[in-house]
Amino acid sequence: MKRRQFASVVVVGAGPAGLAAAIRASESGRQVTVLDDNPSAGGQIWRGEKDRRSGNDASAWFQKFRTCPAEMITGARLIHGDPERRILSVETRQEFFEIGYDKLILATGAREFFLPFPGWTLPNVMGVGGLQALVKSGLPVDGKRIVVAGTGPLLLAAAAYFRKHGAIVPVIAEQAEWRSVAGFGIRLSKNLGKLFQARSLRLALRSSRYTFSTWVEAAHGKDRLENAQVRTGAKVWREPCDYLAVGYGLKPNIELPVLMGCRTQSGVVAVDEFQQTSQEHIYCAGECTGIGGVDKSLIEGEITGLAAAGLKDSARRLFAKRRKTRQFANVLDRAFALRPELRQLPLDGTIVCRCEDVRWGRLRPMNSWRSAKLESRCGMGPCQGRVCGQILEFLLGWHPESVRPPVFPARLESLTQDSEMKESLRT
């Protein structure tokens, strides 16, 4: 079954940026369709907030979204797009379809950055945002011991969240130096709310050990995680735990913007003051233009929605507000820079590419992404290098190669229905 659709504005991603963009474009009289690969709107930060009644920011935005006429299609994954014909190829569990647009808004968000260390593939070793997402989707952690490790303010927000749900967080291991974080004048407790809307943060800080210059160098266990090996300077100890939540910050999801021909700069999508990309009809908002948290995403989303609807004067009135959110983002980035010791974490036997089980000892002597792919299948699995690509960029300085369709693994019947991909299958 194949259907064709058209919307004057198509928004990809229903996190804060995508929702704000959809609301503003829709209020301006545009016919809007929002696509998201998750089962419901909200993105990562507002996961599970949709049905909450409490009067927080999220519920106010959801309320606006519910009452605006924008169409929402969940469980929809973008697999291909053509910026010339202005058409996107979309796969859902039931079907494949193409949707045309006049203006496209990409709000593809960010993913967590992981570093390989011995034992990181053990069951119950997860990302910080990853475990938080599972708890938001109903995983009980009451009485569970969770070690939180990595870098950035997300560690604190997640630890607070786990504690609120009854977990014991014996240690929050932050790799950055105290001096580095304090030196930038970041008042974490004051600013975290802006970034993650974290509540009961003081509680988490009071009863958990938040230590700087500290990182997890190994995870141990027989069939599943039993303890995390934590290092602070010369001191090393094993912390028993049920879950290890470890993440080294966020990286923008730029695969789809790159596929659509949008220029990137330093790993983020380059945009002008109206959030327009190097492609005339494509705009970008939120974490994919630079990691900056929910306030930056919302204001960029609003500007994008207005600009895509042609209301440049209204968009311009929001520029000052956006400037503030971006300044804070820049400071954060530098304060939580990764320490070089983390490059020594993987041993020769440590898996780097989890899809194809390619180990560090195999990759270390290689000199390019190309040879790694050809000789070891590194990055050739279903995640298409989304996890190991950024790891190897950090460990070996390799830059990911160009993006090719489909940007996510797609069903064969979808590929055969996509007008352009059909051609490439034949050759």
Binding site: R52, G129, G130
Partner: protein, 84 residues
């Protein structure tokens, strides 16, 4: 608006499971105590890493369809989930 939580009944590897409505399949599998969502190419058991549809570690078979991302799938009545 949030109503009374409904109970969803389905199966994981043939065993019946009951969870509240809105629970993701990934979460239900973790609650069931299963530690191998899938086996890696060298046979290691794996659980979800990213929890948001990026890493593909959480993939399972749902109603006979392979490679479904359990973290992006909500449990439904009568669903048959196979891990490993």
């Amino acid at each position: 608006m949030r109503s009374m939580p409904e109970i969803i009944t389905f199966s994981i590897n043939g065993s019946p499971v009951r969870v509240s409505g809105g629970t993701s399949v990934a979460t239900a599998i973790l609650i069931s105590g299963e530690t191998a969502f899938r086996r890696s190419v060298s046979g290691e058991p794996r659980t979800p890493l990213c929890g948001m549809g990026v890493c593909f570690e959480c993939r399972v078979t749902i109603n006979g369809l392979q490679h479904c991302l359990s973290c992006q799938t909500v449990c439904q009545d009568g669903m048959e989930v196979q891990t490993g």
